[in-house]
Amino acid sequence: MTQPKPPLLEVKNLRKYFPIRKGFLRRVVGNVRAVDDVSLFINEGETLGLVGESGCGKTTASRCIIRALIPSSGEINLRTDQGDTVNIAQFSRAQLRPLRRQMQMIFQDPYSSLNPRMTLFDIVGEPLLVNGLTDRKQRTERVADLLKLVGLRPEFMQRFPHAFSGGQRQRIGIARALALHPRLVVADEPVSALDVSVQAQTLNLLLDLQQRLHLTYLFVSHSLSVVKHICDRVTVMYVGKIVETASTEEIFRAPKHPYTAALMSAVPVADPRLKTGNIELQGDVPSPANPPSGCYFHPRCTFAIEKCKTDAPVQRELSPNHFVSCHRAEEIKLEGIAA
């Protein structure tokens, strides 16, 4: 038996608090706990889906991981291409610079994430230029290769983003992210701004690129059907905390956390013969500035008992690689979506 490789990325107890300041002295009166004690890992070559409703902290968590934000505390252990593992959580800009090329991001909105005054060559070539590929001819060749890789014609290189449709722009964003041969790609809702028929093309492209380039994805999304389609494992977040992590197949077949089950039940199925919405959640997502006591989900949970109101549940491993934060995970029966 060979020793299994350590995960490409391991996040431990990640926290990101945004202070709320009030008054003349701008004193800190509270914290928005956008990400509160999040731990996860991603193995090389796999896709981890990060799911949750808006405001649950999934975008903040992913921004902390690529270090677009400085985490308040916690560890972000990245295995570099040299094979050693470094904790980049508190790295300075200078320390991060050589590591940046290993982690890249694909953004949600293909309209606002491309500079309208730069040509495709400038957009896709900029990361190359920044990282020392100053020879214009070589850069042109590399950009042409990248455009071909994502299914765009290299002749488009001198055009500006406005000449392209949403799906094509998202391809440009993907080409830019892949320019430096990253190992981890964080995709923050990469298809939610696209039309249905174009979504499928983009998802196929992402899957195809993963196989060809051996990429690892952190796939942030609120769309469960998309996540089910492309992820190996899924992590569900609620108000800054992880409530459940399991393999895609398992979490959809047998969710263990009431919130996961409710989330799945809320997704409308594209078949009029199957009625969805058996579980209806009451109320709204609480504010991370003022979360409820105990388990954050207890005011909306139909299974809540006294203990849930006072004690915050600790994440437990119910079965191998199935992590749940719920006091009653063993006793309650929940319905998933039959495959």
Binding site: Q168, D195, S197, A200, A266, A270, V285
Partner: protein, 326 residues
């Protein structure tokens, strides 16, 4: 519907016919630029200039006055008294964004009461009572307090409910919901959809439900119209659309969405190419450049007419009939 612009005239909606009956949820699906929102604006006569209705009728059967009094909205002065009475009174709109639909400087109560007093001759006090009842009907807790709050004090779900309450304020015959749940989360979406369905059953109003989400359509609509580039491509009861669709576009659209019960990681069947810009709409059937079953010499020259192929289902495709739009 035409939009004469500097670059040329855009025919946003071309020969769309639909019949909506009382008590029906009528779904309109399509991708961006297919003309679904423009159709809705045409019905309400709120198209921004220079857009205009170049041809066609919009017939509304009113309940008041003599029974069976039918009026053509397309003929009316869009700013005239009659149209203003209908707009908000008999046809109400649930807009897409609950964020930007309320004025941030007036309370929720003032805005709902304004709509009530515009269409019904009631006192301020009475209007407030009606508004409070409406908020209670749509499931807003503590309505008497919410009336005096501003829209930005409400969460997305509550704000969407308040918009629905406002749309219902005058007991409309027809409710137009333009992507009412795209801006809210899935769990809130489930709440709003359930609310709309319950209200529709209680009041027997008709709802035109516009969305790009096939899942929502499957769960909400009774009858579905699929649009592509300003043209109706298929009309059928919801079950036929999802299980017996005829038009290649409808079929391709259904295949291309990942569903929760399909094999993961398999390549999704896609529709090749992208939606053309309305300025350079292809000649002939607008879908033919992306269609796998296009008949050369026919689909690229002539536009098929929407024609019934069975009692309930109508398709505009030359695979099923030969009639074209002259």
């Amino acid at each position: 519907m035409e939009f004469p612009l500097d670059e040329g005239t855009v025919k946003a909606v071309d020969g769309v016919s639909l019949d909506v009956y009382a008590g029906q949820v009528f779904g309109i699906v399509g991708e961006s630029g297919c003309g679904k929102s423009v159709t809705m604006k045409a019905i309400l006569r709120i198209i921004e200039p220079p857009g205009r209705i170049s041809q066609g009728k919009i017939l509304l059967q009113r309940l008041n006055g003599k029974d069976g009094d039918t009026v053509d909205l397309a003929q009316m002065d869009k700013n005239g008294k009659e149209m203003r009475d209908i707009r908000g009174g008999q046809i109400a709109l649930i807009p897409q964004e609950p964020m930007s639909s309320f004025s941030p400087v007036h309370t929720i109560g003032d805005q709902i009461m304004e709509a009530i007093r515009l269409h019904q001759s009631v006192s301020n006090k009475e209007a407030r009572r009606i508004a409070e009842q409406l908020l209670r009907d749509v499931g807003i807790p503590a309505p008497e307090q919410r009336l005096d709050e501003y829209s930005w004090q409400l969460s997305g779900g509550l704000r969407q409910r308040a918009i629905i309450a406002m749309a219902l304020s005058c007991n409309p015959l027809l409710l137009i919901a333009d992507e009412p749940t795209t801006a809210v989360d899935v769990t809130t979406q489930a709440q709003v959809l359930r609310l709309l369905r319950n209200l529709q059953q209680q009041r027997n109003a008709a709802i035109i439900f516009i969305t790009h989400d096939l899942g929502v359509i499957a769960q909400m609509a009774d009858y579905v119209t699929v649009m592509y580039l300003g043209l109706v491509v298929e009309q059928a009861p919801v079950d036929d659309i999802f299980h017996n669709s005829k038009h290649p576009y409808t079929q391709a659209l259904l295949e291309s969405i990942p569903t929760v019960n399909m094999t993961p990681r398999m390549n999704l069947p896609t529709i090749s190419g992208t939606i053309p810009h309305p300025f350079n709409k292809p000649k002939g059937c607008p879908f033919h450049p992306r269609c796998s079953k296009a008949i050369v010499g026919k689909c690229n020259l002539h536009i098929p007419k929407l024609k019934p192929i069975s009692e309930k289902q109508a398709v505009s495709c030359f695979l099923y009939h030969d009639e074209e739009i002259a």
